[in-house]
Symmetry: D2
């Protein structure tokens, strides 16, 4: 388990997530925040689907990307922000029903942090796995630019 | 340039894209369809943004994933469907303003097809680059399961 | 833990690994084989290094790719072979000294299997993490083609 | 086409490549160097193969990783070095015969550079495609640490 640099990490993560209008659009919410681990919940909605009626693979990527990003953000100092450098996701099973994305930090770093997320359906199906790289922007607060 | 197996490829791509409710949710549309190349347009909207006011990286992934998938689908026979196996995306610049994702087939195959997408902003900024793998499901039509 | 289809899985993995002349070239050996988990050991050698004196990132990729591939192969039937579809690796720390790559199956499948590897140095440093996709070639034995 | 910051870029790339003992081990050589584009050649050798007699996928990754890295290095200042952050490679066809990896810079950056490589066989077969991220270490010369 990782020790947070900023004792207000959870409030900072929740406040930043609240500013992600894209999460509001798809109906995603923060389920759990601890140092280096964040869970994002996504209830099933018909308007999140692709042509076969499953949750769109890009939306699965959205919640995994966000869970990973906030897992990294939870370990960072208060006055910084971060950007996603890249992510790679394998879709393991069709996204049926509500999903949860569990992001965690694999390797925290001063400049780059590497994270991973697992996405599960309510019935326990392993829906996706992601590996992600983020870059910390030191001294650039996490606010609208 | 690749030769399409199905002469109705463009209608088939447009009809399938039209069933992607997630594309409707984010306001994305099909801009261009040719054999092995598909473009998806995304007008800027405030409800697509992340915490800093840029288009969410996961939404950039959504349109790139979709452009790649339909580039592959355009080369496939009429009675099949496909699933995304995995994709990897590098975010090269913040997503400001309207975006276009250009997907193209790198290597078509009987089982697996490898594709790539480039995402550009209206001012020409190269916003993202994706490499993706898809699997064809032969004899399983592209309809709600 | 996964159940092997072929009770001779360990002998089959060892025999196939023994035919990988590239593993002999770099001095890698099979350390451990169980169903769905394989470890590959790489002693440090000066001729494995890049320009700064660390083990070449591509060689780290080689042992991780191989550990993942044989983790998948251990769960497959006797009369098949497999090919690497793609892999993605993050280098987390310079490769100093001897390395071990631990591959494991994330999701076995009839056609595609998704795996992961972690590479560690002797002093416990987490050197790399890989996510990989493999395709099974049913009825095509694992022999020289 | 990109303009090099360091007019001695080609000599610097060749000198650094010459220090990569791992390239010597597998018999790879620098074929071509221009600003932002580097080609690495790999003659076929039996000791580079995997269990089916094709060039090992990890060795294909090695030459692609190296071609990408030196494409990035060619655009950097004289007093820096760089490290591979991550790479993702799709193997498109078995590696039979001699190979050439062509690396090029997709997006140069102060901290991070994104590159791509295509690997071809002598008969023109497209063998692999890579997307890679590198980090520049400013003020840390490219020498043995």
């Amino acid at each position: 388990m990782n020790a947070p640099v900023d004792p207000r990490f959870a409030a900072r993560v929740r406040e930043s997530f609240g500013r992600q209008k894209a999460m509001g659009l798809i109906g995603a919410s923060l389920l759990h925040v601890e140092p280096g681990r964040v869970e994002v919940a996504l209830p099933f909605r018909d308007d999140l689907t692709q042509q076969k009626g499953f949750i769109h693979g890009g939306i699965i990527g959205m919640i995994a990307d966000t869970a990973c990003g906030y897992a990294a953000f939870s370990l960072m100092p208060a006055d910084c922000s971060l950007v996603t450098v890249e992510y790679k996701i394998n879709i393991l099973a069709p996204g049926r029903g509500a999903l949860v994305a569990r992001g965690e930090v694999v390797k925290p770093g001063r400049t780059l942090t590497v994270t991973r997320a697992e996405v599960y359906a309510q019935d326990g199906t392993h829906v996706a796995t992601m590996q992600q790289t983020l870059m910390m922007l030191a001294g650039r607060p996490d606010t609208i630019e």
